[in-house]
Symmetry: C2
Subunit: 325 residues, 2 copies
């Protein structure tokens, strides 16, 4: 009798490499069923993705002591990745961006209307997918719509503070904790639920996800500045050009009072900003903040009861988020 | 022991008038907890609403044989109404409308960015609310995200066919079955689940909701034309001005070949359209379609096992959708 039950359970468990391949298949399958216009849109988006750091996080966190993953984790991982795609689509409208990392954005290419609907559609697909898993209790604990709400509030606060040179470090960290860290937290949370660990450990995974999300965004902020400084001729539309004020600049504004006065009078140029950020050590300040989250992450990883393989994998995500690998 | 159980069950049941008052309270409470910018937005939107036809549908369909409603139906009713608000917000961006029924739209007043985020936020609030009900099995049967997907596909198809003078009646009915009828179907479906009726009856309620949604939209299409014809001086931006081609015009295009040729050559004016719709009997044709759905609805209402009070209430919704009351 015990054997029968064990066998039944094992059918549901797969190796994590297999799970990751299935996530990609699941995303492709779902998107290929979408209407043509949405497919064109998502193909374009997927081409500039490919890292799937959120889906990888779900799968790795979902590994049990034997290194196996419950197959339902595949659906949640795919759902979170599609949710991320949805936020990218709407981000472009919110930012009114014509370029993203040097590529023409979709709202520029296909029009704002398509972008709004495409984002809504992807959002509904993601939520439908996560609601379609067989053991629905797992999904209910996760409450993915809560995370969607957090992402929206982050976006909203970023929008409200567009061009706000008085934005404090504290408020900025709150914005990115919604905008970026919430979905990382959801990924780690979802994975932990599937791993079957205790509630206290689930909480640790959630915090780890949050920290890694913060690292991911703050590192992004630094890269955005560095790219602008290094390659001023490239057709990159930086955060600042879109009115998005990030931590390196916030630090410069708080440190150099003449620069702040200049900014208030709206007489600063891109070159002024770069000079002020360098002078104030804005990038160093941001990297230090990243370090804090990095060390908090290491502490959590050390405290969790992990197999050597899982520990190595979690360290891999942490390094990827910090762009150290 | 039986008494204790019965008492416990009864605590969950309330009168439908009370349920409706609670729906309004629930919506107010939820929106009042939103960030200021979203509150301003929704206050503006709510002022032009007030009928709550979808929420009323949920509550009425949810009435059991004793005329009582399960209190969880309140949350689903509020969630569906907020979902409807979300679609209105994104509709304005999709339509690029500056006016809606003579009022300045929110995307015109607050900007497109706020509109995108506000719609996303409302969507997440609605899905979170419907996921927060205690007896979660009811919610899972309902699969609200599926309906969000249907609404998106309807919107998308409407957008693809913007200005398409070759649009067929069949294709048009498919568009509005997603765009409008899906949420009515969801409302009736949700109510039926709570009423505790048999599966076959739940299906009938769903179909009834679908028919009533079709009636609601087609009647709206007629009103849009009548208002334009009657009050050409009013600052009403009609469907046609937004490129939305509705059934009265589709019929005129299919009936009058010279008019179709003129439209292809893009030489038609608003006056030409009104004249052609009147000449072809486009409004009569649309009203006839409404009649078909009306009679199908009556047939379903007659076949359902309903208390006289519930029957009267359902007839009330049917008449409201047809603008007969």
């Amino acid at each position: 009798m015990t054997n029968v039950i064990k066998q039944e359970v094992n059918i549901e468990l797969i190796r994590s490499e297999e799970a990751l391949a299935l996530v990609k298949q699941e995303i492709d399958k779902t998107l290929s069923k979408s209407p043509l216009i949405i497919r064109e849109y998502t193909t374009h988006l997927m081409a500039s993705q490919g890292k799937f750091i959120r889906a990888v996080s779900v799968i790795i966190c979902a590994e049990n002591a034997e290194g196996l993953v419950h197959k339902n984790a595949v659906k949640i991982a795919a759902a979170i990745e599609i949710l991320h795609l949805a936020t990218l689509v709407h981000d472009d409208i919110i930012d009114n961006a014509e370029l993203r990392r040097g590529d023409v954005t979709l709202q520029k290419k296909y029009g704002r209307r398509t972008a709004v609907i495409c984002g809504d559609y992807l959002l509904s697909v993601a939520l439908r997918m996560s609601a379609s898993i067989e053991n629905k209790k797992d999904y209910l604990d996760l409450a993915l719509p809560d995370y969607v709400g957090k992402v929206c509030l982050g976006e909203l606060n970023q929008h409200i503070n567009n061009g706000n040179i008085e934005l404090s470090t504290y408020r900025y960290l709150k914005i990115i904790s919604g905008k970026t860290a919430a979905l990382f937290e959801a990924s780690f949370f979802a994975g932990a639920i599937f791993s079957g660990c205790q509630e206290a450990e689930v909480k640790s995974y959630r915090r780890l996800g949050y920290h890694i999300g913060m690292i991911f965004q703050l590192t992004d902020d630094c890269i955005d500045f560095e790219e602008t400084v290094e390659g001023a001729n490239k057709p990159v539309q930086s955060d600042y050009e879109q009115g998005v004020i990030t931590l390196p600049l916030i630090h410069a504004l708080s440190q150099i009072s003449e620069f702040r006065d200049q900014a208030k009078a709206q007489t600063i140029t891109r070159a002024d900003i770069n000079a002020a950020v360098i002078k104030a050590g804005g990038l160093k300040f941001t990297r230090k903040m990243v370090d804090k989250f990095y060390h908090k992450s290491i502490k959590i990883i050390d405290e969790l009861s992990l197999s050597p393989h899982k520990k190595e994998q979690l360290m891999g995500i942490l390094k990827k988020a910090s762009r150290l690998s």
